[in-house]
Symmetry: C2
Subunit: 330 residues, 2 copies
């Protein structure tokens, strides 16, 4: 893993041909003159380059897995990870699981075939208490060091970096209470997800009850539905499990003829890109994306050099970003 | 290309072991018992599976290249392409070029090593009149069919699907003129980009002059700068080259103490996700992402089966989505 493998480009340089030509010779494709083919094969011998080594060149690639791209929080993680991996000299590819597209499990199978060097998974199956982490286990036991952001499974031999859901909920509630709100609701996605369970546990620990919680799905529509329920039951402020849900909640509140924040205050979660541009600009809890990605990449790079991964989950402190979707209780 | 290659999973099934074990045997890794190793090697012989075929399994992967993930328009293209490729049975990986991360050229080098089956590039170097398309040419001549969305180079042997910039600008201007605006400005990114050149040409053909155009960069900050210039020179409406620029323009106009749309009307371009949630909800031109992606995937699938790609650029009709950032001239 930590060796510096010979690349096709090295071979191309030595043979005085293009990398494309080397690739064609290696894959046995037509369209290469016999003399050129001989030159490449001779260069291969001289440099001790073999097909096996060609496979080794691929071990420099790190795969980034994200659950979807439509929530802007995930492209933000992917972009930050790319920047950090790039400056560390690693090529990377992004695999995004779509609800109607390729699943996480299918991506992991593809990655196994691609012989990747390492893996960083954002909000993957380790964040889903009902999903099997077997595909990750297989990759890890095949020697692919894996690091997880916002997901945790004590039985996986990886490293774990998560945003503290407890602190996120506590900061949101404290802010709303300081504005005079007492009827505060929590709008989250399905309870199968670990961050959801943690947000609910944090919320209940602050003295709220099950009736103050609406568990729907992590989309604008999920936010609408949760807001409808919580407003109907007399809540004046809603802490949302994602910015996307918060935007849906705002839309629902307006369609009820109410105003944000004059009638109902809304807090998001993620501070994903563009949230400063929403109507109203969203008060939200910022995940420390940069710091989390830096820790994940640092751990992965060490593992690629042979270090053991520390299985302890490292929790990151989020910041409350106060904008215009929260105000004094009316 | 069009053959159905044997997969590691087929071999695993035949040998009665996991794909991970097959992978370890093939890559010569430790941690596999000799009896297991023999079982896999026997199965390989029985099925006529060779290392060369292992490489062939990788040809099923289609790579999606996007320039960045921070403009939500690009994740939207990537997600749509994933959905379509997945339903056609193709695995895919996404390569996102970041300003501070991996460049498009570096991604293309990695893809060459990965022996991908095909490529769909969104707003890549063929959209940049100053960039070399040599890396694409190399991949194409190595037998990788390539399809381009929002980029065109008549000398590249690919297929091209673009949103009509002319229609986008014409529809925006017509809408603003119907609201009484005559002092209309155009805010775009650098002129090196083909879509920028086309938007400028369309704008000039409608009777506007160079003084009505501010060419900056495709970011919120670029939008701010362009809006400052155009408002300063007396324009009452601005057609922006991207939604992101439009959001920056709105921010700038407000910081000048003016209102959108009461004082200045703003039109975006892309209708990227979340634009219905901005303040004010953005009037913008919707790229027909789904239709463009369907055409691109259809062309690529045909090429993977051996069809010639038609080099003609197919232009798609965009729709004007009227929301709240445009209003009557004051």
């Amino acid at each position: 893993m930590a060796t510096t493998p010979m690349k096709m480009s090295d071979l191309a340089l030595h043979a005085g041909v293009s990398t494309a030509t080397v690739s064609r010779v290696l894959s046995g494709k037509a369209g290469v003159r016999q003399t050129t083919r001989d030159t490449v094969l001779t260069a291969m011998e001289e440099l001790g380059y073999s097909r096996d080594k060609q496979v080794t060149t691929k071990t420099e690639i790190v795969a980034i897995l994200v659950p979807e791209l439509s929530n802007p929080s995930f492209p933000a993680f992917a972009e930050e990870l790319d920047t950090l991996l790039f400056s560390a000299g690693h090529a990377n590819i992004v695999c995004a699981a779509g609800s109607a597209g390729t699943s996480e499990v299918q991506h992991l199978e593809t990655l196994q075939d691609l012989n990747i060097a390492g893996l960083i998974s954002v909000s993957g199956t380790p964040a889903d208490t009902l999903a099997s982490n077997e595909p990750y286990r297989r990759l890890i036991s095949a020697g692919v060091p894996s690091v997880f952001i916002n997901g945790y499974d004590s039985e996986l031999d990886g490293a774990f970096f998560s945003c503290s859901d407890h602190e996120a909920v506590a900061a949101s509630v404290l802010h709303l209470q300081s504005l005079g709100h007492t009827r505060i609701g929590l709008a989250v996605g399905p309870e199968r997800y670990l961050p959801t369970q943690r947000k609910i546990a944090a919320f209940l620990s602050l003295g709220f009850s099950r009736e103050d919680i609406a568990s729907t799905i992590y989309t604008p529509e999920g936010g609408q539905l949760a807001a409808a329920r919580l407003v109907d039951s007399g809540h004046t402020a809603i802490v949302c499990g994602s910015d996307i849900m918060a935007l849906g909640a705002i839309r629902e509140i307006r369609s009820l003829g109410l105003d944000v924040p004059d009638d109902i205050s809304i807090v998001g979660f993620d501070d994903s890109p563009l949230m400063a541009f929403t109507d109203p600009a969203l008060t939200t809890v910022r995940q420390p994306v940069r710091a989390m990605c830096e820790a994940a990449v640092t751990a992965l790079l060490a593992a690629l050099k042979g270090a053991e991964l520390d299985r302890t989950e490292l929790l990151f402190h989020p910041d409350l970003i106060i904008r215009n979707s929260t105000g004094p209780v009316s």
